[in-house]
């Protein structure tokens, strides 16, 4: 039930891209606006036809410009959440969902709305709903189509930050119910890292890098266009307790982590994004330091960059922490693989939206 996409075009933008998404997998297409990622989603949905393209879903050919096969949009089982939701303004939330069903059934439509945490608002019109609620209706409508491919086009860009953090958690929870390939288009690297299994980085219509989220997010070459400061490691953790001073203690395989107030009850599994440029390395365990998190590990490898920087991969109990330091510092400290170092992470360097609920099936080590 995989989704295979190949597209080549010269208009409206030069494009030459191919990728594959497995069933149940969430692939993030990341790139700046104008890089061609939304155009690709439109190609999968049949809303845009490039000069040369092939879209195969679950073994069925939706589009093949060589074999001259082109299924019209309404005959492709595709669920799409548009950037501005594009709800039907004259229909209530539940009617919007029913409009995408093969056999409209109000009870089932309401169950789908429950699935996206929209209780008791079934009879509201889109204009009476907040941005986040409209986003949920759009998602419910996309799911009601029973799609063989789910496409999310910058779905979180039009809501405020607090709502966005909540929606991340809901998408992560919802994925247990999703057996189809999911494609997320975004320019937000934090969002991509928290939600995606694999990533395709697109620059000016071409694939710069394809790989697992961990591979791509630690590769300075892949992230040159998106910003090297986006490089980050991801640690699994469990919320242990919320301190009275506003700091939360999390148990990670790397030891305890103290972070500013994390959403969620003790016992909740989360993932924490640790920005590589925020990490300081020390040969000895420092004392008298304000930083609350000092994590000891072994250097796995050091990758010098083309500029003044170097990426140090540190292995901590089978998990990786990334530290982007200067090459000068690496030389001065004479760091080599196998050395023990202490990674220093300021609590305040971990932003609220860099912590997200973990998928329920995920192992925490």
């Amino acid at each position: 039930m995989a989704l295979e996409v190949m597209a080549q075009a010269t208009r409206p933008i030069p494009l030459d891209i191919a990728f594959r998404v497995e069933p149940g997998e969430l692939l993030a297409l990341v790139g700046h606006s104008g890089s061609g990622k939304t155009t690709l989603l439109r190609c999968i949905a049949g809303l845009w036809r490039p000069e040369c393209a092939r879209v195969v879903v679950n073994g069925a050919i939706w589009l093949d410009t060589i074999a001259k096969i082109d299924l019209p949009t309404h005959r492709r089982r595709v669920g799409i959440v548009f950037q501005n939701y594009a709800l039907f303004p004259h229909m209530t939330a539940v009617r919007n969902v029913m409009a995408a069903m093969d056999a409209p059934d109000r009870a089932e439509a309401e169950r789908t709305l429950d699935l996206v945490n929209l209780h008791g608002l079934a009879d509201r019109k889109p204009a009476q709903l907040s941005g986040g609620q409209q986003q949920r209706v759009a998602l419910a409508r996309a799911l009601a189509r029973r799609p063989q491919a789910l496409l999310l086009d910058e779905p979180f860009s039009a809501v405020d930050r607090a709502t966005r953090e909540k929606l991340y958690g809901e998408i992560i929870d919802l994925r247990r119910h999703l057996a189809m390939p999911v494609v997320l288009v975004t320019h937000d690297m934090n969002e991509a890292q928290l939600l995606a299994d694999r990533m395709v980085v697109i620059e000016q219509g071409r694939v710069v890098r394809t790989g697992t989220t961990a591979e791509v997010m630690s590769d300075p070459e892949a992230l040159r266009a998106m910003g090297i400061r986006e490089i980050a490691a991801m640690l699994p953790a469990i919320i242990a307790e919320h301190g009275v001073d506003g700091l939360s203690r999390l148990d990670a395989p790397t030891g305890p982590l103290f972070l500013p107030q994390v959403e969620g009850a003790p016992g909740t599994r989360v993932r924490v994004r640790i920005m590589a440029h925020e990490v300081i390395l020390s040969r000895v365990r420092p004392e008298g330091l304000s930083a609350q998190n000092i994590i000891a590990g072994t250097i796995a490898r050091i990758v010098p960059g083309v500029g003044p920087g170097a990426m140090v991969h540190i292995d901590v109990a089978g998990h990786e922490i990334l530290a982007r330091i200067t090459r000068r510092a690496a030389d001065q400290m004479a760091l080599v693989p196998g050395d023990t170092v202490h990674a220093i992470v300021k609590s305040m360097s971990v932003a609220r939206d860099h912590v997200a609920r973990a998928p329920s099936t995920m192992k925490t080590g």
């Binding site: 949905a45 809303l47 949009t73 309404h74 005959r75 548009f82 594009a86 709800l87 039907f88 004259h90």
Partner: protein
């Protein structure tokens, strides 16, 4: 009061609206969504009746529909009578003359639908026909409503073109507007005043109903 003339005018307006409703949906939709080379020309042709004097327009219709014209001959062979100076001829003229009043508002109505909403409809599995029926018509309804009311009211009041292609045959082509003119010519000011007042009342009523309906639809949509 010439009730026959009023009834004729109402029938003429009714037929014109009935014919122009599907035409305005198809043409208005095509002009709203599609980009094609001759679009500007088509839009200009549709607007032409708005600026041409009814007499000029009526003259060309007479030439086009009259005896020895291809359309006139075809009509004659199909129905056994000529097209000009008949009710059917009046309907044809009225339909053409009302094109701008029907198509313009319909086109604006369809243009007001965001393109993503139409795309969402097809992504929800709706065929083009289902999308038209369930999504586009309900959303373009205020525009279509305006189109039909304008057409109806405008047909009631049309004078010059009716006189040119219809003449003034009682019960066949003598509309209320022509009847009023006749009364004035015959110094029957009372009759003219009564019929004018009735026409004003009907026109006011139809326009008031449209405003009321479109306000209701507006509330329903927001």
């Amino acid at each position: 009061m010439d009730w026959a003339a009023l009834w004729l005018s109402m029938r003429l307006a009714g037929w014109t609206v009935a014919i122009l409703l599907p035409v305005s949906v198809l043409m208005g939709r095509a002009l709203a969504y599609r980009q094609f080379r001759a679009k500007g020309l088509v839009e200009a042709l549709v607007m032409l009746p708005l600026v041409l004097p009814p007499t000029v327009f009526g003259f060309y219709l007479l030439v086009a529909f009259g005896r020895n014209s291809p359309i006139g001959d075809l009509w004659q062979s199909l129905f056994g009578h000529q097209l000009v100076f008949t009710f059917q001829g009046l309907v044809v003229a009225s339909v053409i003359f009302n094109l701008p009043f029907a198509i313009q508002p319909a086109q604006r109505g369809f243009e007001a639908i965001p393109v993503e909403v139409r795309e969402a409809a097809s992504c929800s599995g709706m065929s083009p026909f289902a999308s038209l029926w369930k999504i586009e018509l309900p959303l373009a309804w205020p525009g279509l409503m305006t189109a039909m009311v304008l057409t109806f009211a405008h047909t009631l009041g049309e004078f010059g073109i009716v006189l040119m292609v219809g003449g003034s045959i009682p019960g066949e082509t003598k509309t209320i507007a022509i009847a009023i003119y006749d009364r004035v010519q015959g110094f029957d000011d009372r009759g003219a005043a009564t019929m004018s007042a009735v026409l004003v009342a009907i026109s006011l009523f139809t326009i008031a109903v449209t405003y009321w309906l479109s306000a209701r639809v507006g509330r329903r949509l927001s």
